[in-house]
């Protein structure tokens, strides 16, 4: 595994939202460093600030105070064009609801980010087919999303997220809309990609199956980091969690 630099660094980040007259503080000062090549899960109940932190890391939201660095660049300094570039090349997104573009085939969905990146048509088709092959859907490349099962759609989405060989893959509840077995397949695929290709995988989840493959788990509670556990510590606590659940 690449134990190199910090691919994401979050420093004293707070985020406040104004809801009507009320001011809600979703994040109350978070510090976090994520190493390149790491498989990191962010866990926490809904309303904990998990999604806010996740969006921050993905360059989808800017902090009220504090800094978020992606590859040591402060994302608050980037203009709209540079942010689009960042989303296009540095980050691959995977969504709970798959978010394939319905009017396009699987292959067209995978090639779209490459088109944005200025790749030629032939090149992008070749790479798109290769990526679909990687997720085991090469022969279904001409199918529209509504002709694919949930698990297949999510695999297309994973292929799409890899389109421009990003450094980071952000997965927002990637197994949230999938059944148990399909969810496990997706998790295995993500883990495989992370270790094979050295991609940093960051996922927000409350799927406990994710814990087993994570290098580190960040627990968010009430806008702060409750605890960060690395894998060796996890084996113990997973037991307690599942017993708590049962």
């Amino acid at each position: 595994m690449d134990t190199g630099h910090n691919i994401v660094r979050v420093s004293e980040v707070t985020r406040t939202f104004r809801m009507g007259t009320q001011v809600v503080q979703a994040l109350k000062g978070v510090d976090l460093s994520i190493q390149s090549g790491e498989y990191l899960s962010i866990m926490g109940p809904s309303g904990s600030g998990k999604s806010t932190l996740f969006n921050m890391i993905g360059g989808l939201d800017k902090p009220s105070t504090g800094k978020v660095y992606i590859d040591e660049v402060d994302i608050a300094q980037l203009d709209a064009y540079e942010l689009a570039w960042l989303r296009n090349r540095k980050i691959g997104y995977i969504f709970q609801t798959f978010n394939l573009i319905q009017v396009m085939t699987a292959l067209e969905n995978v090639t779209l980010p490459m088109i944005f990146a200025g790749m030629s048509n032939d090149e992008s088709v070749e790479k798109g087919l290769e990526l679909l092959g990687l997720v085991g859907l090469r022969e279904r490349h001409a199918h529209k999303p509504n002709e694919l099962s949930g698990g297949q759609q999510q695999r297309v989405a994973i292929a799409r997220s890899l389109a421009n060989t990003p450094a980071i893959i952000l997965a927002d509840e990637p197994t949230g809309n999938l059944d148990l077995t399909t969810g496990e397949e997706i998790i295995a695929l993500l883990k495989h990609l992370s270790s094979e290709r050295g991609v940093t995988v960051i996922s927000a989840t409350h799927d406990h199956k994710m814990l087993a493959v994570s290098d580190r788990v960040v627990w968010i509670r009430d806008g702060r980091i409750d605890k960060i556990e690395s894998r060796d510590q996890l084996n113990i606590s997973v037991g307690t969690i599942s017993s708590k659940d049962a």
């Binding site: 590859d71 570039w85 989303r87 090349r89 997104y93 969504f95 394939l100 389109a163």
Partner: protein, 243 residues
């Protein structure tokens, strides 16, 4: 594109062979918008039908005026009487200049007719704005996803303008031709063959062209606000869970 100092170093790392840009070639955007229209054909049809009707009305009025003008320019007092009887607002005697020659006359659309046309076009534009706003809400996830994949505001804007432009052109074309044909048939029924024999072809083409132009422009005008709303949408919207 001017980049900050730290930013340019950052952009070098990923750039390598690929040029450091975010693009959507025009051909590709055309392809995407045609696909979107095809997939939402029924919905596009409803938007377009409103436009077709309004433009058909405009075309009907403009072409009808051409028919009457043609008959008037024939200089045949008989035809002039027919027009007066049909309710065209003309002086009892044709105007003559100082030397006693007939002066060329023309008939435009009556004031009342003009108002109805303007009103129908206004209603049609409001209808387009409404339909396009709904289309934007329906597609917020798609737009958000595209933005997550690196689409700029301008890509989204362009897609919506292209779609509306194509819908507008096709709708206006159908409407204008439909309206002009209806006006010719109506002329034929009311005035008989002279309606067609004296028809100024250039004027008719101009009338149809004007109706198409107006329809096209209205369609684009109607989509500007919805398209700006869509383009400004934040990529976070793609993360929303509810269907």
């Amino acid at each position: 594109m001017a980049l900050g100092k730290s930013a340019s170093a950052f952009f070098d790392t990923g750039g390598k062979k690929i040029s450091r840009q975010v693009v959507l070639p025009f051909r590709k955007s055309l392809e995407i918008s045609i696909k979107s229209i095809k997939v939402r054909f029924f919905r596009s049809m409803i938007t377009v039908i409103g436009l077709i009707l309004a433009v058909a009305f405009l075309g009907f009025v403009l072409a009808g005026a051409e028919v009457a003008s043609g008959m008037l320019r024939s200089g045949d007092p008989e035809l002039r009487n027919v027009l007066v009887k049909a309710g065209y607002d003309l002086p009892a005697e044709p105007p003559v200049d100082a030397a006693g020659r007939l002066m060329p006359e023309s008939v435009g659309a009556g004031a009342k007719e003009r108002w109805i046309v303007i009103l129908s076009l206004l209603v049609c534009t409001v209808g387009i704005v409404n339909a396009q706003l709904m289309a934007v809400t329906e597609r917020f996830r798609e737009i958000g996803t595209m933005k997550c994949l690196g689409a700029l505001d301008s890509f989204v804007l362009r897609l919506f303008l292209l779609e509306a432009g194509m819908q507008g052109f096709v709708g206006a074309l159908i409407g204008a031709v439909f309206g002009a044909v209806a006006a010719l048939l109506a002329g034929l029924v009311r005035f008989g063959l002279p309606a067609l024999t004296w028809l100024p072809v250039g004027g008719l083409v101009m009338a149809v062209g004007a109706a198409i132009g107006v329809g096209f422009v209205l369609s684009l005008a109607g989509v500007v606000y919805p398209a700006v709303v869509a383009a400004r949408m934040r990529p976070v919207e793609a993360m929303r869970v509810q269907e």
